[in-house]
């Protein structure tokens, strides 16, 4: 008992020792600014002038701001499209990369490569791939007799264009899926086979349930990441055409660093945070119906 207590104390000491740097960093660089941004959201701080307490005025303004609601719609559209399409696409890729074929390592490297490209390089590449006149996608569509859309310059196609691009560089999700796939016990497949399950049956009744926590994790992380979209949107469309790609991250940036209205920018940031929390909570609630945990 004493030995256990001593070992427990030692472990606890190590735990605190190793987590302290992160905790300090979090409090100084994340926790502090989070609390500050909440306070600032109740002021009309123009950065260079002293902030004035305005109570709920910024939140009232937000409620009546048509561009904010447009940004919410665009953010959800992009977030949902990017997360769902991304998870499905990456899961299929991981399934293929999990097959024992020649050159498997090379294929895995190729799939992962886009993830190491910087955002701006990715944006430049995709501006060309999505170009309405000489872009690769419209060229391929043209080969089968389809006239491709204007993608980033057409307000109806700009977000689908961004979604396609976002899926391309999701190699990290593929790695996680692959790790998960390799952790599915072989015995389950063997048992299913003995019970007469074909490849579809094994996939549906073994792979998907066993992978459901991983699918859920990738969905949550992908959704949160997509809802915070900013860099590529700023660089590729700057919110256009006709505000069709004005997302909340860009809206925060405009108010904070172009108009220097830190109070309203913080209000938008908190609205974005609330949106993320609401969607994440909804996903957790829905997860009870389809995510299978091996041990409860």
């Amino acid at each position: 008992m004493t030995a256990y207590t001593l070992r427990g104390r030692r472990e606890a000491r190590r735990f605190h020792l190793f987590t302290t740097p992160w905790m300090i960093g979090f409090v100084l660089f994340s926790g502090g600014p989070i609390v500050a941004s909440l306070v600032i959201s109740f002021t009309n701080w123009e950065l260079l002038a002293s902030p004035h307490w305005v109570g709920l005025q910024n939140y009232r303004q937000l409620w009546h701001d048509p561009d904010f609601w447009l940004a919410v719609k665009n953010t959800v559209y992009f977030g949902a499209g990017s997360a769902l399409f991304g998870v499905a696409f990456n899961f299929v890729l991981a399934l293929m990369l999990n097959l024992k074929v020649h050159g498997q390592a090379i294929f895995r490297t190729i799939i992962y490569l886009p993830s190491v490209l910087t955002g701006i390089a990715t944006a430049l590449l995709w501006i060309n791939i999505l170009h309405p006149d000489y872009g690769l996608i419209n060229y391929v569509l043209g080969l089968v007799g389809i006239q491709g859309p204007g993608w980033l310059v057409d307000e109806h196609w700009a977000i689908p264009g961004l979604i396609i691009m976002s899926v391309w560089s999701a190699g990290n999700a593929v790695i996680i899926f692959l790790a998960g796939l390799q952790g599915v016990p072989q015995s389950l497949y063997e048992a299913a086979e003995i019970d007469g399950a074909g490849w579809w049956g094994r996939f549906r009744h073994v792979t998907v349930p066993m992978m459901s926590p991983i699918i859920f994790f990738n969905m949550i992380v992908g959704f949160i990441g997509s809802l915070q979209a900013f860099t590529l949107v700023l660089f590729m469309t700057d919110g256009g055409p006709n505000n069709a790609t004005l997302v909340l991250g860009l809206y925060v940036y405009r108010y904070a660093f172009q108009y220097f209205e830190l109070g309203y920018a913080s209000t938008i940031a908190w609205a974005l945070f609330s949106l993320i929390i609401a969607f994440t909570a909804a996903q957790f609630w829905l997860a009870r119906r389809w995510v299978h945990y091996e041990f409860k």
Binding site: D133, T231, Q258
Partner: protein
Amino acid sequence: MDQRIFHDTPGTHGMSRRQVVSLAALAAAAVPLSACGDDRKRQTTAPAGATGAADPDRPENKAYPYDEAQTLFQSLTWPKTSIPEPRSKVTVTMAITADENAQVRHQQFTKFFREQHPNIEIKREITPFADYLTKYITQAAGGSLPDLMYTHYSWAQNLIKYNILAPLDDYISATPDFNKSDFTATALSFFAKDGKQYGVPTDSAPKMLFYNKEIFAKAGIELPDSTWTWAKLQEVAKQLTQGSGVNKQFGFTPMPIPYGDLTTLYLLPYGGRFLSQDETTVTINSPQASEALAPWVDLQVKSKSVPSLAELQALENADPYRANHSAMACNGAWIIPAVLSLPDHQKFEWGLTHLPSGPAGRFSPAVGSAFGVTTKAANKDAAWIVLNAFLSAAGQRFFMFSPPARMSTFDANLKALKVDDQIIADCKEALKTYATSDGVLKLPNTQKVIDTAKPVWDRVRGGKQSLADGLKDIAERCAPVAKANAA
């Protein structure tokens, strides 16, 4: 390693996978609240060491050989001021935004200046243009600023309003050599408020009509001149439009958009305005503005003579004129050095003339940048001594601003680039006769006005909304934003 953190083992008190996922989700969701990260800006930051190639004792590059720089510096007459030299060594910090060539010129200036003023050391802070305003506004909020700082014309009123730039009038009075009349009133106006001068202009240039002589010769159309009206230009633009895709030749570029100089360039010639003169009310929904803009919408939607958003993307947002894809362009005379230094495969015969006139006259926005002494400057007197030399006639000649804000160096700087005499004369005439700051938006809410109007204008130029509805819509949406300028 304690496996409890990673596995849902019954009967243990470790975190379940569900809890781990929850925590990860919460941490990720918190990011937008703690940091409005701007990767794009980080990407555009100049590479480290880009300026470090030059030998500090003998800074030079191909554009600015050291010996030539020294000879030029010594040949110029540098101004005096009655502001006393510091008795002990001081450092003047100077915030600039400059390309690699200009940075070398600054290094040379620092070295030669120190020989004349041994107690003043100039320390430069170099920031890319895209990051500059954000960086220094944030720094100002933190209570620290360089002694001298660059300002674009469109930022100046904000910097003055928030007490970042200090008035220079006392220093100017103490410096008979300053010769304020060497600047045009327009150049000075952007950096002045309530009769006080807060910045000394570096460059000031009018927008002019550039044309591609080869395209005109091929079409057998006479070159533009000062007799042209905007209606004539639009007619010729239609005639000179041909081709498609990457081979498209536009008649004119750019398509007018609701930017800061829309009024001066395109609306004042018809008696219209985007915003009122005090920039607090929106006046674009007027018959005059409609008359001015209707032909442009036709040129965009019907004859496709000006680049659309998609066509600009095809050119990767390069200027179609300099990419040899446009017969005519309206642009600032500051692009002359860029046109002269086009790569061989892109070079073409070019010319420049006065902007066309409209029923209400001829107008051109003349804009530029400046430097000012900041209110937080630790060494204001020394900062003025540096500024006075840097933006004196000698300084503007040494830095080869093209075109410079000082009219006394205008000819010399452009001639050094081997610019045609007629072009120099036309630019000077434009500055003296019809170039103006009237109509150029400069108050704090300008960017917001532009961001509000642009989506509507995108629909109009895309043919998805009529001009009349678009102007009405812009007027309604921009009204509260412009009104805030009155505060």
